[in-house]
Amino acid sequence: MNKKKKMTGRQKTFAAIMIPALLLFFCFNTYPMIRGFIYGFTNYRGYGDFDWVGLRNYADLFTDPRIWNSYFFTFKYAICGTILVNVLSLLMALALNAKIKAKSFLRGVYFVPNILGGLVIGYIFSFFFTYILPALGQMWHISWIENSILSSKEFAWIGILIVGVWQAVAMTTIIYISGLQTVPDDVYEASKIDGAGKWKEFWDITFPLIIPFVGTNLVLTTKNFLMVFDQILSLTNGGPAQSTESISFLIYQNGLDGGQFGFQSANAVIFFIVIVLLSVFQLTMTSKKEEQL
């Protein structure tokens, strides 16, 4: 018990830096989360009186087809989105990192979608899908776009996917570009001397060296795609026939607008656990493949 030492000045500085951040994090993240966890055991409507209902909300979650559909939709969307975004971004990053004209200008242009707000983009694309694309379809007699794809129960999610990917590629590309710039020129020279082709150079030199960036991007894009919200609000509002309700959309819609604050809090708790597990899994997978020079 005599190990109680006084903090050194250095430690005090660290503490002074860390404690405010910790407090802020606790107030605005941890504390609301604990509150939400507690509300998950009630039938609270968001205001007024409520009763404790124990684990009923959790039991309901697993038997509610609407919840299952939202999880199915969200994961389908996130998996396709993550793959598409990362493949496209990597290609874009390679192109924008090559010796081409107007490189910085093009990098700027390709970053624009990230600056625009999700709702703005959504409404523009909504107009595009509802009026422009069907008009083109009728002109060229392409049957599958003669009607707005957003009004089709089977394909509306693809419309949302296109918008989501279009927007997400911007940020991911920037991260990949910075990743590509960390690969030193001498390894490329070495591979050239050994006679490696472009394809081999990419798979055996570039890719292993930017694995940490792939890992970060995978986690970030998966997380962002799982939380898809504003695209849905502006493009389909969950329809048609409830086919594009994502988990966050449902939590917002029914938790705040409808009177299911308690039930959707329970849903949010489950969703949080799912995202944490997924992120941990992805990080351990990619860190195993990491290469060091």
Partner: protein, 433 residues
């Protein structure tokens, strides 16, 4: 008059000056003499008329200051304020499921002692009674204005072709066929915005479904599969006369299309008229009662309380708020509001009916009106999305699937309410014995 304004200004100024050094001191002398009543109005489109009401009230009252706020997304703002227990004195909201829930959560004050209530049409007071999830004693809202929903039609177009307003379902369907023959789109719909599916649904349901349907289902005597069978048939029968692929277009698209004469009719409430006028200010719009019945006698006008006022139990100046209610119910204010917003007055008396609703006058005068059934559907059940799903489902079993789901979802989302109603009924029974 001038003196009063000046006095008010001085009070205001001195209050500001005093407030700074005395912050933290709960009340100054001035706070005691001038009490503030906040009115939160949920209709942002009525902001101008409410500002005028605020001005007129403050001109004539020295001891009470009325503050009106009309935010966008008022329901969300109100709900977040309720979570923080920050209560305005008065809320002006619609007679819908939100009212039911707020009342059920014990937020509202019993205002049966407000004299103005004596002058409200009984039909609207009854309507509020039916909105109580579990029957309550007392009166908790003062109905102010009502709206009406049926079918809007293009008057010029109807006159030009000599089409007549239909009075029963057969007439309606043959009218649609006739319009189609003339090469015009009979109906337009914006079913991408799912809530718009509820407009025809409600208007049909007040005619061909029983008013007690929900109560019967809640007590376990019946199912929606029985109660809503005809409503489901008729709403689907309208589909061939609506533009192709209506789920591709939203409410605004439909309003623009109707305003530009792309269709002869639109099944929506009178609340859409300002939106249509913003596209085509010159348009002559008419509105008739949904002719859903096999016979005219089966029809009812779908009319609900568009705005009503309630006092919050947790607010500070409840006595003063009562005075504001009396003021709001004066003929002067009601006329002012109807002039600006249209609609039907909830107060007894000779108030004008808007030009667009003149075809419905008979129903309004004789009180053949019924509330929107969806005012009793829990919003998280998303009945509008269920209807949309049904309308685009082309399989033979579509209706059965839809109504079965309606029944099972109803039980799921209303579980707590149904249990409490049954408890209440059991208690009533045992007390009577």
């Amino acid at each position: 008059m001038r003196r009063k304004i000046k006095k008010g200004f001085l009070y205001g100024l001195s209050a500001v000056m005093l407030a700074a050094p005395l912050a933290g001191c709960a009340s100054t002398d001035h706070d005691k003499t001038v009490k503030t009543v906040e009115l939160l109005n949920y209709k942002p489109e009525a902001v101008d008329v409410f500002e005028e009401i605020e001005r007129r009230f403050n001109e004539t009252h020295d001891d009470i200051k009325l503050e009106v706020s009309s935010p966008n997304q008022a329901m969300t703002i109100l709900k977040t304020r309720l979570v923080r227990e920050d209560y305005p004195e008065i809320v002006g909201i619609g007679g819908d499921i939100n009212y039911s829930n707020f009342l059920d959560a014990g937020l509202f004050e019993d205002i049966s002692d407000v004299e103005a209530l004596q002058e409200i049409k009984q039909a609207y007071l009854d309507m509020d009674k039916t909105l109580e999830l579990v029957p309550q004693e007392g009166i908790y809202a003062m109905p102010f204005a009502a709206n009406a929903a049926g079918i809007l039609y293009n008057k010029e177009m109807f006159e030009e072709h000599g089409w007549k307003v239909p009075h029963n379902w057969d007439e309606f369907i043959s009218l649609c066929k006739e319009i189609e023959k003339a090469g015009i789109q009979p109906l337009y719909a914006g079913y991408k915005d799912t809530w718009t599916t509820l407009a025809p649904w409600n208007a049909l349901a007040v005619c061909v479904a029983d008013e007690d349907a929900i109560a019967r289902v809640n007590s376990g005597e019946s199912t929606f599969e029985e109660e809503y069978s005809r409503v489901a048939d008729r709403i689907k029968e309208m589909m061939p006369y609506i533009e192709d692929n209506p789920v591709a277009y939203g409410y605004n698209d439909a309003a623009s299309a109707f305003a530009r004469g792309q269709s002869a009719m639109w099944a929506i409430g009178s609340y859409a008229i300002p939106q249509i006028r913003s596209v085509n200010p010159e348009m002559e719009i008419g509105s008739f009662v949904m002719p859903a019945g096999d016979d005219e006698s089966e029809n009812n006008l779908n009319s609900g309380i568009d705005i009503q006022f309630s006092i919050l139990k947790g607010s500070e100046n409840k006595e003063e708020a009562r005075e504001v209610l009396e003021f709001l119910n004066s003929d002067e204010i009601i006329n002012l509001y109807l002039d600006a917003q249209g609609g039907i007055a909830a107060k007894e008396g000779d108030f004008p009916i808007p030009e667009e609703l003149s075809d419905m006058k008979e129903y309004i005068d004789s009180g053949r009106m019924k509330d929107f059934p969806d005012h009793k559907y829990p919003s998280e059940m998303s009945v509008d999305a269920l209807i949309q799903t049904y309308l685009i489902n082309d399989s033979d079993t579509a209706k059965e699937e839809f109504l079965k789901k309606f029944d099972s979802d109803w039980q799921r989302y209303n579980r707590d309410t149904i249990r409490r109603i049954q408890e209440y009924e059991a208690k009533e029974k045992s007390e009577n014995e």
